[in-house]
Every structure is written in C-alpha cells, then in structure tokens.
Subunit: 206 residues, 4 copies
DNA sequence: CAATAATCGAGACGGTACGTCGCGTCTTGGG
DNA sequence: CCCAAGACGCGACGTACCGTCTCGATTATTG
C-alpha cells in the first residue's frame, strides 16, 4: 500500500501490475462452458480444448484462471445460480405448487435445466463440484420450501406436528425424480398440483 | 448351459468348435466391473482398461464378450439384480415402511447401493444403460409398491381416490433422494417410518 | 530364451509378446521426418506433431519408438546415409574432382542435400545429433578422400611429405563452404576442378 | 549521435519529446543477447524472453527497439564487429598465416568466436541475419585476404594465373571448418602455418 | 509548475508444440 | 477358437514459450 492518503481509505485492493485480465475472455469462457455443458449433456463432454475453441481463447487463458476442469465448471455454475424468490401467495398450497412447477420446468430457459442434470450426472468424478452445486444451488431452493412450510404451520394451514425435513424430502424427491423423467415422458402440467394435493390430504383414510 | 452329456440323450446343444471361453474370466470380469463401479462411484470411473487390469485379463477377452462398456455394465448389473419379494404383512403401512427401508439400505451389502447410484449418476451419457436399469431393476421394485398400494385401496387402508402413480413418485423420490444423501449424512433408522406416516396422514389440516 | 532347440541356434532374439510394431509406421514416420527436414529447412521446422500428421500416425506411435525429436531425427539421418564408393579412376586428380563434385551436388536428389544442411543448422541445440551425423555421414566421406590421398602418395602423384589431414581440411572446407553458398549463388560446374587443380599445383611460385 | 550541444551550434537534431530511451537498457539488452548467443550456442537459444530476463528489462523495451529477434541479433553482432587490419608484413606467406590464425582464434575473447559459429549455425532460418552477417563481418575479412593475395601476385610471390576466388574458398573453408572443430578437438597452434604452406607448395608433384 | 508524451516493468493475450495418458480397436504368437 | 500382451490412431490433458498487446507508473521536456 503505497498511498499516504488522508481521509477515509476507499481503495482496499490495489490493482496488480501488468495487463489486467480480460473481462471479455472471462465472459466468453464461462458462456462457452455453460453452452457445452448443456449441449454435450455432461461434465465429460466439456473439454478445456473445446471451451477454448468456442470462446476463441487460448488454453493458457483458461488455465491462468482455473486450475482444472472441475474448478472451471464450478464457476460456470455460479453463472446459472440466480435468486429464487420466496412466493407469498394466498395459500401455502398454491405456493408449494408454484415452487414445484418452477423447479420442474424452471421458468428460465432450457439450457439451465440441462446444465443442472449434466452436473448431477458427472457427480462422483467431481465431488467438489457436486458439493458446491448442492450448497449454492440446491440448498437455497430447499430453503425456500422450508420457509413456506414453516409459514403454513404458523398459519394453521399445515399440521403443527409436521416434520419439515421429511416433508422436504417428499416434495423435492418427487419433483426432482419425476423431472428427470427417467423414461417416463414429459411432465404433465397438472403433476405439481397432484403431488402437493396428495401430500396435503394424505393417502390414508383418516 | 454346457452339458457334459451322459447316456442316450441326443445332443441338443452343440458345443462350438475351438477352445471354450473361460468361465473364470467371465466371473473375474463381472466382479471387477462391479467393484470398480462401486469404488470409483460412477460409470466414468469404469474403464475397460481398468477392468482388464483388475480382472487380470486381456482387453480382447472383454471386448469379445461385450461390444462396449455400456453393455458390460448392463450385464454386471444383472449380477446385482435379485428378486425383491412382495411383502404381505399385517398392515399396508408396515409393508410400505419395510419396502422403503429395504430400498434405502438394501438388505445386501454396501456395494450394491453404491452401484445403484453410480449408475444413476452416469445418466444420459449411457441412455441404453439407464433404460435397461430402469426396466430391469427399478421398475420391478416400483411394481412391488404399486401392488401394495392397490391392496391398501382394496382393503380400505388407503383412500379410494388415490393416484397410485403420483404416490409412487412421492415414495420413490423421497427414498431415493434421501438415500443418495447429497451431503445430508447417513439415513436415520426411523426415516422410512416417518416418510410413510407423513404420507399416510397428510401434512394438511384436513 | 525358451527354446530347447538342438543343432545350431539361429533364433537369437525371441519376438516379444503382443502385436508387433508396424513396419509401415516405421517407414512412414522416417519418410515424413526426412521430408519435413528438407522442406522446412531446419530441425526446428520438424515438429513431432507435423511428422505424425504427415505420416498419418498417432503421436503415441512416434513416442513409443523415440524419446524425443532429436532421437527421431538421428534415426531419420540413417535413412540418408548410404555408402559412398571410393572412386578408382585413371588419376588421383580426377578422383578428387569427382568426389568434390559429388559432395557438392550429391548425386542423389536435392532432398538429401537439403537435409544435410538443415541438420548442420540446428547444430548446438542438438549436440548428440550433430555428433552422430559427423560420425556416420561426414567422417565416412572424409575417409574416402583420405584413401584417395594415400593412394596418390603411393603412386607418386602426390607429394610424399603431404600432410593428409591438413589437405583434408582444405578440400572439405572449400567444398562444404562453397556448397553452402552463403549468398554466393549456385556452384559453377567447373568449381570442383578448379579447387583441386589449384590445390595440386599450389598457389606459390615454385 | 546525441549531442549535448555547447556554444552557438544550431540544434541539428532535436531531442524528441517524452522520456528518452534508457541507454542502460540498450547496453543491457545487447550484452544479454551476445552472452546468450555465445552460451546457448545458437540463434534458437536466444529468445526475447530470455534476453529480457537476463537484461532485467521488459519484453516491450526490446520490441520497441527491434522488430524481431533477427534484427536484435544483427545489431548485437555489430557490437562484436571490429575493424580487421590488413597486415603488411615481410612476406605474403606470413601475412596469410597471421590472418588465418587470427580468424581461427580471434584475438579477442572466446565469446566472440562462439557467437560467430552460433550465427553460422542458425543459417537459413534467418536468411536476413546470415546475409548481413556475411556482408558486414565475413566479407570484409575475405576482402583482407583478397588484398593480400593480389599483393602477392604483383610481388611475384604468388602465381600470376592464380584464381583469387577459388583460393579464397580454400583458405576460408579450411580455416572456418577446422575452427568449428566438429569434434576434432582444439586447433593446434601450427595449423594455420601448415595450411598456408601446403597451399603455397601445392600437393601435387609438379 | 503543470501538461504532455514516450518510456519503463509487468504480465495477460491467442497460439503452437510439447510429451503423457487413457480410450476402444486391431494383430500378433502361443495354448 | 480363445487368451495375454501390446501396438495402433485418436483426442484431451496441462505446461512452456513464443511474439504481441495492454496496463499503471515513471521521467524527461515544453508551455
């Protein structure tokens, strides 16, 4: 820190010497990575070489920023992450349906959904990736459901003795598994509603 | 079935000419495949090269039997597959809990469960694999639940207007997702019971 | 040595197990190397990648045979080496002229001459290369001149007190330097004769 | 020639605006280049990167002065170039021997000789370099020999029908080739004398 | 003295080649 | 005909330099 400044210091980080890293390259690399992740359908389909080619960037430029493919994809993930609003509708039931529907079809574009599952596929080869993905993308969304459930308990719409975590697994599990559609065809439009209603009413006779 | 033929039985199956394939190799390959699938935690971790090395077998010996990795793993899967009995207990509730518990922890060893999830992870890189896996391993187990649910409807233990398929997704989803335990730690012993009870009673206040 | 043979052993080397190395690849690689050496005009112009591409061969196949570029070029050199006949003409003078002319223009194709100088260029970056080149290609040719000179001394055509090595440097030096034609244009046809004649007669007045 | 101007002399050269180029950098770069040329033993061993590192200078500082490596080395060469006096001794023979010896061992240090051959090695990868080197360093020295030869012809010490150019190739070739000493060890002290004497007397028996 | 302008070192840029690894396939001699 | 061994062509890996291109900082001269 070479400044002898007086007054409130505002510059907390000094720019390092030399040519600064190109933000254009940053963006191009992340975009190329996300595109390949969605198109190739899996972490394995994303090669640094392909990313470099598509981003019109030298491999060096990628390796200067990320030590390996996993790290690159983790950061590309961040580009997918975006705040998921807590819905506050008239009823908890409608909110849960809305969340389920959003999660299954993702209101944003197809690319994002493709990436989600591409990442889940690669899974265990890239444990750090899956961990961060859960922490930064999945868990926030689980938390949204958690809040709605707690609101429901307080408002009396849901049972007071509800086990929130168990309910979370029921909702997330049904939604995520069905969305994956392992050979079961596209998700019917009324599926989210049916799931939540079944869950609310229970399947037992009293 | 290679028979050693005794007595007057006419030869129904002719042994092909040349050296017969080594059954020792067959077993070693399948075992190595299953081990790798469980250990490496993913289809990608299973390379023909690695299987051959672990089975102490030439790569040719593998490729003579299976056209590709996918086919090999499918057959290795069969080694894991075993009949899943339809439980007929005193109550449908107990049966469902038993099924859920069995599915999550699997009666047999850890290896089997690891393989299940390794395969699910591989996902769309190996569509044929996942398809056959669903058909031969998953669907039979879903069918067991289906039967129990139908029995519950008939016996009056479950609601008459129950949507069986939706219920299936709820049970299977919760169970499978939780078993995968994406960072959530080991499955508590009472989890299956809690899930089924929550589902039976419903989470809404009538 | 696993053979229990009787009689005179002829098989001195047993073929190693596995698929034998492709002689076609051997040839293609050497040829591609020589071509590139001649065309690109320098060791630096020969890249393993380019050799592999031109020979329609994987890089692995090259690296399996040679540890690095230097080693490859050394062996490619051997393909250029071919016996240089000791001329036995009517006079030592004519023989020397013939040798000089052959060395400058090389009776074989242009490619060989290009390679010679390409190798000499790379020189110090590849000391082992230049050493072997001298030993296997240059020195044999020097030896041819040496023999002719000795014959001349015996026959009385050359001075008895001739220093053979010094004479060698004179002949080889003039020839090689002029052939290199550092900006001096193509070698005139009568140059070899002029050099040898000047050398024979001496430049001094008695 | 940057003059510091004194007295009434009108300014003939105007110092350009802005920060003047560092003469320290100039010197450091040239010195580093010469050192690398001698040490690495070849044009290829001289990389701008290496020069910049050794001169403790930014690469920009080099590229601002010279458009490419070739140009840099050409200028570095100039630092080596120094007038080569035409010897006028008692006899042409002694003069030739002196020149030959000087050329082989070079009065100045080892570094200079190393550079000479490093440059000659680089050859056709750097045609402009070799051309200028010949023009500015080699040819002047050839010219010195040329003058001595002409003087010898006039004085009757050398044959009147002498082909000066051919003789030049003989002397320069022997000297240069032997100095390069491709594996032939250090140059014996009496080599120059022997070469010139052999050339003067001729190797033939009249 | 402030403005101007070319310099400086540092280091990122796109690119090419390196030598290595693992893939799935092919091709041997021997059992 | 099977088996092991291992070479084949291929493609991606991560590294090292290359020559070029910005940067902020420095250092002279000029208005």
């Amino acid at each position: 820190m070479t400044q002898t400044s007086d007054g409130p210091v505002t510059k907390l980080t000094v720019r390092p010497p030399g040519r600064p890293r190109s933000e254009r390259a940053d963006r191009a690399i992340i975009e190329a990575t996300v595109d390949l992740l969605a198109e190739e359908g899996g972490v394995a389909g994303v090669s640094i070489e392909a990313v470099a080619a598509r981003a019109a960037v030298g491999k060096t430029t990628i390796y200067r920023r990320w030590p390996n493919k996993e790290a690159l994809i983790i950061d590309a993930l961040a580009a997918l992450k975006e705040p998921f609003p807590v819905p506050v509708g008239d009823s908890v039931r409608d909110d849960l349906v809305a969340i389920a529907r959003a999660f299954m079809t993702d209101k944003s574009d197809k690319k994002r959904l493709d990436c989600y599952w591409s990442i889940m596929s690669g899974a265990e080869r890239y444990p750090e990736l899956i961990a961060r993905f859960n922490r930064e993308v999945i868990e926030p969304r689980r938390d949204v459901i958690r809040r709605v459930l707690r609101r429901g308990i307080e408002s009396g719409e849901l049972r007071a003795d509800l086990d929130v975590e168990v309910t979370l697994w029921l909702i997330m599990g049904a939604v995520a598994h069905r969305a994956r559609a392992w050979g079961a065809g596209p998700v019917p439009d009324d599926f989210p509603g049916k799931v939540i209603d079944a869950l609310l009413a229970g399947i037992g006779t009293n």
